[in-house]
């Protein structure tokens, strides 16, 4: 039996959070789905600081770029410069279509870049296809055993 996968969604818009959660649950109903509403909370979760002392390591991270307190680009740099965290596939999902943003995000080693469509149906479709691809096609790095 496959182990339960853990997703960390870093997103400040409640509507996008709800839609993304539903799309992922539609693909795999047994899923641990965590949400960080800003960049500072995301980094605390990943580093298991403060109230996140027992946070599980995510198998996949979905990251918005425009976030309160700490920008998504900064969060991405933290993840991809950390020897322990950098193997976690990090998918950027954002409203920006600017080439400079796309280039910069790949320079920061995002695993892939997706633009949020404005229309609700198109956004739902994109999230569904993203969840199917990463949960059922891609091989994700295994969870590391806790060191005692």
């Amino acid at each position: 039996m496959d182990k339960v996968k853990t997703i960390l969604l870093i997103e400040d818009c409640p509507g996008d959070v709800r839609l993304t959660r539903e799309a992922f649950r539609g693909v795999e109903d047994v899923l641990r789905f965590h949400v960080a509403a800003d960049g500072v909370e995301a980094v605390s979760f990943l580093r298991r600081e403060g109230v996140h002392g027992y946070a599980p390591r995510p198998d996949l991270i979905l990251l918005d770029l425009n976030l309160p307190r700490m920008d998504g680009r900064q969060v991405l740099s933290v993840i991809k410069q950390d020897d322990d965290l950098k193997t976690i596939p990090t998918v950027v999902l954002t409203t920006s279509e600017m080439e400079a943003d796309i280039e910069a995000v790949y320079q920061l080693r995002a695993n892939c870049y997706l633009t949020k469509p404005v229309e609700f149906d198109a956004f739902e479709n994109l999230v569904r296809r993203t969840s199917i691809f990463w949960l059922t096609m891609a091989r994700l790095p295994p969870q590391q055993r806790a060191r005692c």
Binding site: I102, E103, Y106, P142
Partner: protein, 145 residues
């Protein structure tokens, strides 16, 4: 826009299957082949006969290759300031956790296992086309070219 895909694969059977599956999915895709790691790097660096090789939008890379291993090719791509933004997806028969971890450490954009069944292989190539070449925003061609 025609996407240029570089497939780095030494098995002629897998090359043929991948080519046919891409053709079914989108005939516009311009699929280029490198049959070993040395040729892949020569293509990407536009060396020798590859002097006019266009920069690929996307790379599909096998791990077990003659002359230069796929892991080494991946390391070279991701250490090169010009090449590292090209999304590079591993497509291999290996299911070993060590290979998955090493590939993501070397900054592979994604790791895919080749299915043994023909139909599943075709369906995987269709998914790659549908997700990576259709939905994902890829970096634009380098302006320096």
């Amino acid at each position: 826009m025609n996407r240029i895909v570089l497939l780095v694969e030494d098995s002629p059977g897998d090359v043929r299957l991948t080519r046919e599956a891409f053709r079914d999915a989108d005939p516009q895709i311009d699929l280029r082949i490198a049959v070993d790691g040395v040729e892949a790097m020569a293509y990407l660096r536009q060396e020798g006969v590859h002097i006019d090789a266009p920069r690929p939008d996307f790379i599909l890379l096998d791990l077990n290759l003659p002359k230069m291993d796929g892991r080494e090719v991946l390391a070279h791509i991701k250490e090169d300031d010009d090449l590292k933004t090209i999304p590079t997806v591993i497509l291999t028969t290996s299911d070993a956790e060590a290979d998955i971890v090493t590939s993501y450490k070397l900054q592979a954009n994604c790791y895919l296992s080749k299915p043994v069944q023909l139909e599943e292989f075709e369906s995987l190539v269709k998914s790659i086309n549908d997700f990576w070449l259709t939905r994902v925003k890829l970096p634009q061609q380098a302006l320096s070219n």
